[in-house]
C-alpha cells in the first residue's frame, strides 16, 4: 500500500510545489514531517502507526502555494476545517489519503521502555510493535500503546481526499461516547479543580500545544502575548496558564476536530485535549455537529435558530 | 388499544345512599372494558366535614387511600364521587407541592406516603380516554327523544387549577357522552350552580331554595330528566324533590339519573345492574318515552 501511495504522489508531484508526508526521524521510533520536492524524496515516505503528526498544521502558512498533503483520517478533518474557514484554498491543495490503523502514543511507549537514549530497531506487524533499545527488545500490543484518540476514532479514512490509496477501514467506533470525559467528571468538582491546579502548575508555558494545533491560526497575534487585548499577563502562575488553556479551548469550540496534537506536543504530558473534548461533546449534544466533516457547513457558533432544538429557556 | 385499568375508590355514599351510582358505574365500566381495581380496605376521604375541620386531618384521611393505591402499584385512582375527588386531589396536590405539609400528614398516618398517585373522576376517563366516540360505538338502545339537562354540580370541574378537567363554567363532557348515547341535551345554564350540598341535614332551607331553582330551570327548559354525576347533587334533587316541592309549592316530577345509569341503559345493560329501582322519582315514564316521540314525529 505504501508503494501504491508513493506512486500516486510521484504521479501528482510535477503539478505541485511539494508534498508533505512523513519520513523517518532521528531514530526508528520517531517519524518526522517530510517535504517531498523530487521523486526521490518520495521514496523516503513512511506510513504506519508512527506517523503521529498532523501535517495540516503547515497548510495555512502555505496559502497560495500549490501543495500536496498526506493525511490520516483525523488530519483530513483539520484540512476540511481549514477549508471551511477560508484559511486555505481547495484548488491549491491536493490531498492524499490512506486508511489509518491508529497511531502510537510515544508517552505510552516511554512508559514501557523507559527513558532510553538509543533506539536500535523498530518493527511492527499484526498489531504488535517491537522496539529494540539498549540491547533490550520490547514487544507491545498496538492497542496498549495506541494514542487515546484512536480508541474512539470514527474516521480512519480521509473524509476528504483527491487520491485515496488502499482499502477503506471500518471505524473504530460508530459513536463517540466520551467515556474518558465521563470518567474524569465522575470526580467531585473540587477534585477536578485540584487536579487542574496541579497540572497547570506543571505547565512550562512553552506553547507547544498552540504551535502544534492546526487551527491555531493567529500565530504572531495570539492573545496570549498581546497587550491589546490584554487577556493574559506573563506571570508564571497557575491562573494565567489555566486561563490560556481555557482561551485555547474556547477559541476552538465548534472548530476542533480533536486531532490531539495539543496533547501530543505537550512536553510535560498535561491532558489538555480533555478541555476540547468537553466542548466537542457539548457541541455534538446541543447541535449534533461534528467539526471538520463538511467544508461547506456553517459551524453552529456562527449561526442560530430562533427556536433552538436543544436549548431550554430558563424558567426563571 | 390496551385495556384501560385503574385503581378505584368507590366512596362511602356508594355503599348507601348512592348505591345505584356505584352499581351502574361498575356495570358500565365492565361493559366498556375498563378495569376498576377497588382499593383494598379503603376508608372515608373525610369529605367536607374533614377539610372544614383541618387540612392536615383531611389530607391524612384521604392520603391513607392514596397510599393504599400506590401500594397496589397504580399511578391513577378513579372515583365516581366529586366530593371524594376534591378531597383526594387536594390532599395529593398539597402534599406534592409542600414537603412540609406532606411531613405533617405522614405524622398522622401509620404508613407514611411515598409516591402520590394521580386522581381522576370516572367521567374524565370516559370522556378523555374512551371518548364519546368510543361510547357511541357500543350504544344499542339510543336514548332518542329523551331531553335531558346535564347538571355537573359545583365541584366536579372546579376550581379549575385543582381539577384540570373540562370547563369550570360550561362543562361539556357529560353533554357529549349523553349525545353519544342519543339523548338531546338542552342548554342548561346552571350546570355548575351549587345544589345546597351537605346542608340538607342541618340547614334544609338552603337546599330547598338552591335545588328548587335547578329543578325550576330544568322544568322550564322542558327537560324529561336531569342527569348528574354527584351523589350529593342527586340526593338533593331526587330524594329531596318532595321536600323541595312542598317547601316551594311546586310539583316537579323530574327523574334524576346518574349519567352512568343512562349510558348503561343505552348500552343495553340489564336494569337490575343499573339500580333504576333505587331512584325516588319514578324514572320509568321518561324511559318508556324513549324513541316514541321520534316515531310520532
Amino acid at each position: 500500500m505504501l508503494e501504491q501511495l508513493k506512486d500516486t504522489i510521484k504521479k501528482a508531484l510535477p503539478e505541485l510545489d511539494f508534498v508533505i508526508g512523513w519520513g523517518m526521524g532521528f531514530d526508528a521510533l520517531h517519524a518526522t514531517p517530510l517535504f517531498m520536492y523530487e521523486p526521490e524524496d518520495v521514496d523516503k515516505l513512511v506510513w504506519g502507526p508512527l506517523n503521529v503528526h498532523n501535517l495540516a498544521t503547515y497548510l495555512p502558512a502555505l496559502k497560495g502555494r500549490k501543495v500536496g498533503i498526506v493525511v490520516k483520517g483525523c488530519d483530513s478533518r483539520s484540512v476540511a476545517e481549514l477549508l471551511q474557514e477560508n484559511l486555505i484554498n481547495r484548488e491549491d491543495v491536493v490531498i492524499f489519503g490512506a486508511p489509518c490503523r491508529g497511531t502510537v502514543s510515544l508517552t505510552k511507549i516511554r512508559k514501557v521502555i523507559g527513558n532510553t537514549g538509543l533506539i536500535e530497531d523498530v518493527n511492527y506487524a499484526d498489531g504488535t510493535l517491537t522496539v529494540k533499545a539498549e540491547g533490550a527488545s520490547h514487544e507491545m500490543a498496538l492497542k496498549d500503546i495506541r494514542a487515546d484518540k484512536c480508541g474512539y476514532c470514527r474516521f480512519p479514512n480521509a473524509v476528504l481526499s483527491d487520491h485515496f490509496v488502499g482499502e477503506k477501514r471500518a471505524p473504530q467506533v460508530e459513536e463517540d461516547t466520551f467515556e474518558d470525559l465521563a470518567e474524569f467528571e465522575s470526580q467531585p468538582f473540587e477534585e477536578r479543580r485540584d487536579f487542574w491546579m496541579k497540572e497547570m502548575d506543571r505547565c512550562i508555558r512553552c506553547y507547544a500545544c498552540r504551535n502544534a494545533c492546526p487551527l491555531c491560526v493567529c500565530r504572531d497575534h495570539c492573545v496570549a502575548q498581546s497587550r491589546d487585548p490584554h487577556w493574559l499577563s506573563q506571570q508564571d502562575g497557575v491562573r494565567d496558564k489555566f486561563m490560556f488553556q481555557i482561551i485555547h479551548a474556547t477559541h476552538l469550540a465548534g472548530r476542533c476536530t480533536t486531532c490531539g496534537e495539543c496533547e501530543r506536543a505537550c512536553p510535560v504530558d498535561i491532558p489538555v485535549l480533555l478541555f476540547k473534548r468537553k466542548f466537542t461533546k457539548a457541541i455534538k449534544d446541543t447541535f449534533d455537529y461534528d467539526a471538520g466533516l463538511d467544508p461547506e457547513a456553517t459551524p453552529p457558533l456562527l449561526a442560530f435558530k430562533a427556536n433552538e432544538d436543544n436549548i431550554k429557556e430558563k424558567e426563571w | 388499544m390496551s385495556k384501560l385499568s385503574y385503581a378505584y375508590y368507590p366512596g362511602c355514599s356508594g355503599q348507601g345512599t348512592s348505591m345505584e351510582y356505584e352499581m351502574s358505574t361498575r356495570a358500565l365500566c365492565e361493559a366498556l372494558d375498563i378495569d376498576l381495581k377497588e382499593i383494598p380496605d379503603w376508608s372515608c376521604c373525610g369529605s367536607t366535614p374533614a377539610h372544614a375541620c383541618d387540612h392536615v386531618l383531611s389530607a391524612a384521611l384521604s392520603g391513607r387511600n392514596l397510599g393504599l393505591a400506590a401500594d397496589m402499584g397504580e399511578d391513577c385512582v378513579l372515583t365516581p364521587c366529586p366530593s371524594c375527588l376534591t378531597n383526594l386531589k387536594n390532599a395529593g396536590q398539597h402534599m406534592s407541592g409542600s414537603e412540609e405539609f406532606k411531613e405533617k400528614v405522614n405524622k398522622l398516618l401509620d404508613e407514611p406516603i411515598g409516591e402520590i398517585p394521580d386522581v381522576k373522576s370516572v367521567l374524565q376517563i370516559l370522556f378523555e380516554d374512551l371518548g364519546p366516540k368510543g361510547v357511541k360505538e357500543k350504544v344499542i338502545k339510543p336514548l332518542s327523544g329523551l331531553k335531558v339537562v346535564t347538571y355537573y354540580g359545583c365541584i366536579l370541574t372546579r376550581p379549575p387549577k385543582l381539577m384540570e378537567f373540562d370547563s369550570e363554567e360550561n362543562p361539556i363532557s357529560m353533554d357529549r357522552l349523553m349525545e353519544a348515547a342519543g339523548a338531546k341535551v338542552l342548554p342548561f345554564p346552571l350546570k355548575t350552580e351549587c345544589c345546597g350540598a351537605s346542608h340538607g341535614v342541618a340547614r334544609k332551607d338552603l337546599v330547598m331554595k338552591l335545588s328548587g331553582k335547578l329543578l325550576d330551570m330544568a322544568e322550564q327548559l322542558g327537560a324529561d330528566a336531569v342527569v348528574t354525576a354527584c351523589p350529593l347533587c342527586q340526593m338533593n334533587l331526587d330524594l329531596r324533590q318532595g321536600q323541595v316541592n312542598s317547601a316551594n309549592k311546586t310539583s316537579h316530577k323530574l327523574p334524576v339519573f346518574y349519567y352512568t345509569q343512562l349510558l348503561g341503559w343505552a348500552l343495553g345493560l340489564p336494569q337490575a345492574q343499573l339500580g333504576l329501582d333505587k331512584l325516588c322519582v319514578n324514572p320509568m315514564p321518561a324511559l318508556r318515552g324513549i324513541g316514541k316521540k321520534e316515531d310520532a314525529a
Binding site: - | 355503599q15 372544614a52 383541618d54 391513607r64 376550581p159 351537605s198 342541618a202 330524594l239 318532595g242
Partner: protein, 185 residues
C-alpha cells in the same frame, strides 16, 4: 351601627395567621364583589363573602369568627373560580372555620354538629355509617324530626344499611384522629 375604631380593633396577628394557614394574600382583594355575586349562599349568609374578605383586611377578628357565613359556606368554590385576583377564597373560608373551631366560636351549631357526627362516624367505623350518623346528629341537636320524612323513601329501597360497613383498617383511622388530637393539643 357603631363606629369601628380601627386603631384598636385591627388584629394583625389574626390576619397573618389566616394568611399563613390559607397561603392566600388578603391584600390582593380589591373588593370587586365577584365572590358575593357568585356565591349561591349569599341569600343565607349574615355577612356576604366579599365583606368577610373586607373584614379580614381590617383585622376584625370577632366579626368574622362569629358569623354564620363561615359555617354555611359549602366549599362550592364559585368564589375561588371567579376571583379576578386568583385568591382561593373558599380556602380562606375553610381556614376561618378551623380558627373558629379552635377558638370556640361556633355560630351555626347544627352545621358543626353535623360535621362532628360525620367525623365521629368515620373515626368509629373507618367509613361513614349513614344511619348511625343521623342518629348521632339527632342526639347532638335534639332535632329528632330531621329528615324523618325521607326514611320511608329510603329504607324500602335498601339504600341505607342498618349496620356499619366494617373495614379492617378502622383502627388505623382511629389512630389518625388520635394523633391529630395529640398534635393539636
Amino acid at each position: 351601627m357603631q363606629t369601628v375604631n380601627l386603631t384598636d380593633t385591627i388584629d394583625r396577628s389574626f390576619m397573618e395567621k389566616v394568611m399563613e394557614e390559607s397561603e392566600q394574600n388578603l391584600s390582593l382583594c380589591y373588593q370587586c364583589g365577584n365572590c358575593t355575586a357568585s356565591c349561591p349562599y349569599t341569600f343565607g349568609f349574615d355577612i356576604p363573602v366579599s365583606r368577610v374578605m373586607r373584614l379580614m383586611q381590617t383585622g376584625q377578628k370577632k366579626a368574622v369568627l362569629t358569623s354564620s357565613s363561615i359555617w354555611l359556606c359549602a366549599s362550592c368554590t364559585s368564589c375561588t373560580t371567579r376571583c379576578p385576583n386568583n385568591i382561593d377564597v373558599a380556602r380562606v373560608m375553610d381556614v376561618l372555620r378551623h380558627v373558629a373551631r379552635r377558638e370556640g366560636f361556633v355560630k351555626e351549631r347544627r352545621v358543626k354538629a353535623f360535621f362532628d357526627s360525620f367525623l365521629d362516624s368515620v373515626r368509629k367505623h373507618g367509613r361513614v355509617f349513614e344511619i348511625g350518623l343521623m342518629v348521632d346528629y339527632v342526639r347532638k341537636t335534639g332535632r329528632f324530626w330531621t329528615d324523618m320524612d325521607l326514611g320511608p323513601k329510603m329504607l324500602p329501597k335498601g339504600k341505607m344499611s342498618l349496620t356499619p360497613h366494617r373495614i379492617k383498617g378502622k383502627d388505623a383511622i382511629a389512630r389518625i384522629f388520635k394523633r391529630f388530637e395529640e398534635e393539636n393539643r
